[in-house]
């Protein structure tokens, strides 16, 4: 019995992973084709004034532009999977070096934010459901609606104005390097984390509240109330576990948002992460770096969406059996 159930679940997970990989393949194709669709010649566009026939030829050889497109695509994909992303057009350094450290930084930022935001959001959501329609609930509703409406840079600059300029508590430029201790790093990323946390908490809290209130209309909740169970216990022990599916869904979706939202925040706080590298490279039209970092972002996003799907399915026992 147990074995058969596990097989069903494993099969669905594998199917999702398979779909995810397929999506990634299509995305990598899109990224590659997008560059092919450049109006004009990439070599001449990038070399600009120094585009003599010799330099154009050398450039083409360097980027393997002389090969046929489909051959080049597979060569690119092949070396990408091996970890060789080519060299940056801006400074000629291997892209893998640039990206590796910055990706770790972005993950650090997103990770700390998630660690702070998720427990806070879920607890606030439960409290709001417990005290629904009171002034507490209204207040939370208004502040979360506002936070969702604000552009991230607005929240960021307000926090800088308050906590960095007025209070001089946190740095307005979050530069981190390997020499710092963990606590020093935390201090440096405090403001960007706070900025992103506010937006993410708003989303997750609203969903938690809505999901729990939705469950509260079920018959078994009414049974618990008739039994005389306290409201607090009802929410924590009966409603919440049954609301897990949409809550987990929104949590992981917000994690996916974090991966992307990190871009704007990194620019505001000049944080050495992958997002800032992407924006800089887009401005400088450093295509190989844009391709590589774009693909990494897309892969993380697809992976997190996939996890959201799978977890949502697993946490709702009724969805575990394919119908």
């Amino acid at each position: 019995m147990f074995g058969i159930k596990l097989n069903n679940v494993a099969a669905m997970v594998l199917k999702r992973i398979w779909l995810g990989l397929g999506t990634l393949l299509v995305i990598s194709l899109l990224i590659f084709v997008g560059v092919e669709a450049l109006p004009g010649d990439l070599a001449e566009a990038v070399l600009g004034q120094s585009a003599t026939p010799e330099t154009v030829e050398a450039f083409r050889k360097e980027l393997k532009l002389d090969l046929a497109p489909h051959v080049r695509y597979f060569a690119w994909l092949g070396s990408f999977v091996k970890g060789d992303f080519g060299n940056s057009l801006a400074n000629g350094r291997p892209i893998a070096d640039l990206i590796g450290w910055r990706f770790a930084n972005s993950l650090f930022l997103a990770g700390i934010t998630a660690l702070v935001a998720i427990p806070l959001a879920v607890s606030l959501g439960m409290l709001a459901a417990l005290y629904r329609n009171t002034w507490f609930d209204r207040l939370i509703s208004i502040s979360t609606l506002s936070t969702i409406s604000f552009p991230e840079f607005f929240v960021a600059y307000i926090l800088i104005a308050l906590l960095s300029v007025q209070l001089v508590a946190f740095p307005s430029i979050s530069n981190i390097n390997d020499q710092m201790t963990f606590l020093q790093k935390l201090h440096a990323v405090a403001l960007p984390c706070l900025t992103m946390a506010m937006v993410v908490i708003a989303h997750m809290m609203r969903m938690t509240r809505a999901a729990i209130i939705n469950v509260l209309t079920s018959p078994f909740i009414e049974m618990a109330q008739l039994k005389g169970v306290s409201q607090r216990r009802i929410i924590i022990h009966h409603a919440f576990p049954n609301a897990l599916s949409p809550i987990i869904n929104v949590v992981v979706l917000n994690l996916a948002y974090l991966v992307v939202g990190v871009v704007v925040v990194e620019v505001v706080f000049v944080y050495p992460g992958l997002g800032q590298l992407l924006v800089d490279s887009v401005s400088k039209r450093d295509i190989p770096v844009v391709q590589a970092s774009g693909l990494i972002f897309a892969a993380t996003y697809v992976f997190l969406n996939l996890t959201a799907d799978v977890l949502a399915m697993l946490s709702n026992p009724r969805l575990r059996r394919p119908r």
Partner: protein
Amino acid sequence: MQPIKLLKQSPLSARVGLAIILLNLIVLVLAPMIAPYRETEVVGDVWLPSSSENLLGTDQLGRDLFTRIVFGARNTISIALLITLISFSVGAVGGFLAATLRGWVDQLLGRLVDIIMAFPTLIFALMVLSVLGTSIPVLVVVIALLDSTRVFRLARAVAMDIEVMDFVEVARLRGERLWWIMRHEILPNALPPLIAEFGLRFCFVFLFISALSFLGLGIQPPTADWGGMVRENAGAITFGILTPLWPAGAIAILTIGVNLVVDWFLHRSSELRH
């Protein structure tokens, strides 16, 4: 229902939202008449505080900030509105077509939309912009295309609900053509959720354009644009000068206004159904 009666029954939040939207529309239309100076005119020293000559002070080049915000309203909002209209038309028509024709049309469009939606929007936009440059037409087409996928999903879901109803079948038996059915049977019944979605899409597009301009990859200077103005004046914050908060705040206020009205609209339409 008559507009006046509708207004009288609305909660405070909806009225605030409507007022905000109205204010922005007035500024948008009457921009040249309201602004005291011209859009790119340098009138004083850098980052002056607010005075009788410069209501909100000056920006990082000495231009009057109030003028820039007024023209920024016109530029940013009209582009966001244009993009939303395009994305909405494309998405809604696609969604209705997919729901009415079913079969391979539905499958094809569905797969296409799935693939586009699997991509994080900002990353996709950034990558396309790096290849094609940041001109206004490119911006409009790219963002409209990306956003139309979400409208597609909603339009398709709503249209499928309506399409199975009897009056649509009657219209078909009468021999009405596809376009007629879509326009006269499906569209009027699909309006309430679509209108709400229009508001939400506008907010998203508006914030998205501002974010792109903030990153330097949207509307280019010297055209006044709220996101770009935040970027240009960002340096002032470290001196304790709050200049970048004005355009950023303007963005926030308009988004809140539209959200409040959409919330009220959804609340009303869900009430009417019960």
